[in-house]
Subunit: 198 residues, 2 copies
């Protein structure tokens, strides 16, 4: 009977708040003291939960940093692109839609997160693995759009090249803090679309 209804019960809301509290305090501590120098116990203490609770919300320390919600957004947007677009064009449009609509504040947070991830070997490695599995999820959509089988080597190569080029753009964006990942990525994909002329 409240005027502005929160969608779920008290329990759910509390859980969401706990999760956010842990993540927030963790990122703050990482920024302050560094990733390795911050223990899970310290994070738990800062968020005022027990260490066991920390691991209930995040299976590993890495996951506090790595967890995000972009995959389903990107996949959904890619699927919704007009079928007459080629694979690369559809991906470019997807990125423009999804990343372009992010508030400036979130873009900045994401940049910081990327910097942290790239600077910590464990995080970097796991996030590459994530990227690979994200792209594997794209593979079937790509196959469909290209009218090919998902096992087709051509599809696999295209998917691989897309990973590689996205990664290259990400590294480029990380190297230059003034740059925009979205712009770099779009330019890189255009370059790929043109056959990677050197």
């Amino acid at each position: 009977m409240q005027s502005q209804a929160e969608p779920y019960g008290l329990r759910e809301r509390k859980k969401a708040r706990t999760r956010e509290a842990i993540q927030e305090h963790a990122l703050a501590l990482f920024a302050e003291r560094g990733y390795d120098a911050t223990t899970v116990d310290a994070i738990a203490a800062a968020a005022e939960v027990s260490p066991s609770t920390f691991f209930r919300y995040f299976p590993t320390k890495e996951d506090v940093v790595l967890h995000d919600r972009y995959d389903p957004l990107l996949l959904g947007a890619f699927d919704a692109q007009p079928p007459e677009l080629g694979v690369i064009a559809a991906l470019r449009a997807t990125m423009q839609e999804v990343l372009g609509s992010l508030p400036a504040e979130e873009v900045e947070r994401e940049r910081q997160r990327a910097t942290l991830i790239l600077s910590v070997p464990e995080l970097r490695a796991r996030s590459l693995d994530q990227l690979a599995s994200t792209m594997a999820a794209f593979a079937s959509e790509i196959a469909q759009r290209a009218g090919r089988d998902a096992e087709d080597p051509a599809v696999r190569n295209m998917t691989g090249a897309l990973i590689g080029v996205s990664l290259a753009a990400l590294l480029g964006a990380a190297a230059d803090p003034a740059s925009s990942y979205l712009e770099l990525l779009d330019a890189s994909l255009a370059h790929l679309e043109a056959g990677l002329p050197l």
Copy 2:
């Protein structure tokens, strides 16, 4: 005064033998019980060294699997390709030379190693990170061959695409045990050279 001279002193030879013993027993145990179920202590015991010695030879448990000697071989061979070859053609030739000259026995060992790596998340993640840094090492050679600066976005994209396509071939080879990685990789690079027609 021995007739067949070992190239180095006793100390070096002993170290090399210890290193190999550790690696060999580790891989055998991994194959037998699985990676996670095999503790470092168990490996050390099997190789008849102390756990501390294990970590002197391999900084982490992962490194026992991940360590190999291909990077310098590949880089050297790439550098030695005739300058009139384009980047992709030079890489194809490099792979033919280096991988093509491996004894069948080693090819088989490498296949098993790849299977293990792909099946264990930590190993997979770290090996992707290794792949990225290998390709970064290639980037300057690629830039030189293309007559471009190492920071050039076109070079970065090309390098990224090469990573991606190699990875795609690797996954393809892992999926089909009867296939040859070298052949798949060569076909994939040819496909990239042709502009990835779908």
